[in-house]
Subunit: 320 residues, 2 copies
């Protein structure tokens, strides 16, 4: 099991950080890159972390998945806006008994991955981390770091704690990464949306950091009413999010350092926004379950417009 080889698809703020942690702990890690390929091949990866800076002068960097060996764990850490690439990437790099670990934001991505590799080979993960890519091959890890892991099956039936979850947990813990195992992936994903929908969404529409969004009275009302709609969406999917979870998330956000959300960073960087994964898919899943979420629906259309007419966009993005 310690022989497990990992592929990191998308070597940015998430994939770069966790992949570097795994390699530092002795795992065989293969990094797929695009715009940063030359730099990383030459200079490796540099991690500036609250937990201690470190550098990997040599990493196995690839720009074409065809050159990569088969891997037992394939970490999907692209932006979801790049997921149209997955049908080409995954079959090429995933070992026959390998598993895909989806470390992306939003809802419904595991379904897409399952369509490509099969429904029994997907695990979902949610990263609770503040990290940014600050240059080619350079990641700054600002705060937090745990990954919530849960196993996937088509239809999102809760699978409980499976042996393969525990195997991934062992590897990541060996690499110093805190892991929380969850029995119900869909519940865990909806819970993460309680934060992601209001804060990612409003940060872009209102050009604001987390501190203004949580402390301004009007924004607070908007945030709380959007959170209430996420809870209703989850309930429509038979997932109960306790009141206390929501209030705790508000308190946690009050204590956060002022922070630009990932969607706001993408917006300011002129990159495509993860609107469909984070807002569109939950909206559609709730609608299919009979719940209408009018505020999230308005926010969705607003974000589509922000994305389409993003004044920061010119030339190519550099999402990973």
């Amino acid at each position: 099991m310690a022989e497990r080889r990992y592929a990191i698809l998308g070597t940015g703020a998430i994939g770069g950080f966790y992949g570097a942690c795994l390699q530092r702990a002795g795992f065989d890690v293969r990094f797929l890159l695009r715009s940063d390929y030359e730099t990383v091949r030459r200079e490796g990866l540099t991690i500036e972390s609250v937990g201690g800076d470190f550098r990997l002068p040599r990493v196995n960097a690839y720009r074409d998945v065809a050159e990569m060996p088969k891997c037992d764990g394939v970490v999907v850490a692209l932006k979801t806006t790049q997921n149209h690439l997955l049908p080409k990437l995954l079959p090429s790099v995933l070992a026959d008994d390998g598993v895909v670990l989806v470390l992306q934001n939003g809802l419904g991505i595991e379904d897409e991955v399952a369509d490509i590799v099969g429904g029994d080979r997907v695990v979902g993960g949610m990263c609770f981390i503040c990290s940014n890519k600050v240059g080619p091959g350079r990641v700054r890890h600002l705060d937090y770091g745990p990954i919530a892991l849960a196993d996937y099956t088509p239809g999102y039936e809760p699978l409980g704690i499976t042996p393969r979850l525990e195997a991934i947990e062992r590897d990541f813990q060996t690499a110093g990464i805190e892991i929380q195992l969850h029995e119900d992936l869909l519940l865990a994903r909806w819970k993460k949306l309680v934060w992601n929908i209001p804060f990612n969404g409003l940060s872009v529409v209102l050009d604001a950091k987390t501190d203004r969004l949580i402390f301004d009275g009007d924004s607070r009302q908007a945030v709380e009413s959007l959170m209430a709609e996420v809870v209703r969406g989850a309930a429509a999917c038979d997932r109960e999010i306790p009141e206390a979870f929501v209030s705790n998330m508000l308190v946690t956000t009050e204590k956060m350092k002022p922070y630009l959300t990932s969607m706001k960073l993408d917006y300011d960087g002129g990159r495509p926004l993860e609107v469909e994964a984070i807002v569109g898919n939950p909206l559609r899943m709730a609608a299919e379950a009979g719940a209408s979420l009018p505020k999230i629906e308005l926010l969705y259309h607003q974000l589509k417009i922000c994305d389409r007419y993003n004044p920061h966009r010119e030339g190519l993005g550099d999402s990973c």
Copy 2:
């Protein structure tokens, strides 16, 4: 009746244009100004209009209401964000048998005016005009121009077509201004909100002109769903807005030249936004009548934030 003297409170895009039309037709018009007082006293008013340019080299300009004579018709054409001034302005300038004509956007303003001058001395008017103040004493009239007039009584009971409405109609028609008389002020005000809430609101939040808002697919959905909520709000207040009215308004907007809404102009100019009159009051009136309008509620909070942290604001506004 032709002797009626008019006061214009707020000599900007609305008050400057209609007041100038009245004076040109021979009425005795008194203009209250603030920042433009010196220029207008010296140079009068200049109207660049699609209906023909004209200039009034001399007008009766005031900067203090105490110096104005009592007037039979007092036209309130301030921004609603200046309405805290009305308790000082109106009693000083309104003749004993005079009437106040509220030419402002939004809902509930007549109630505020009635509290000051009495419930039997207020008439409401809605201007369907594209005009901008382009300099001190200079108004550019781009398109349209009719005023919808309806009489007011506390509780907004429909009063039908009253003699004083017809008297104002005669004066304004003499001045070349098209007048539409309405029997039900509250219905007329809700109808105007069908346009004002989505277009004023979204133009600020999304930094967009009318053409993008009406032609972009996502914006169009946002616009239409906000309009549907306005219709529900009106219905809660026992006012029925027909389906055909809404679809006709969409078609009209498609044909408009790309246009910056008044709220967007205020935003870009760093002036306070008319959020309470145009969005907050309708929301509260609907809530009191038992209707929740979630999308308008989110838009309201967003606009409050846009207003509070307007990056264009520095120093003093120049709203009239």
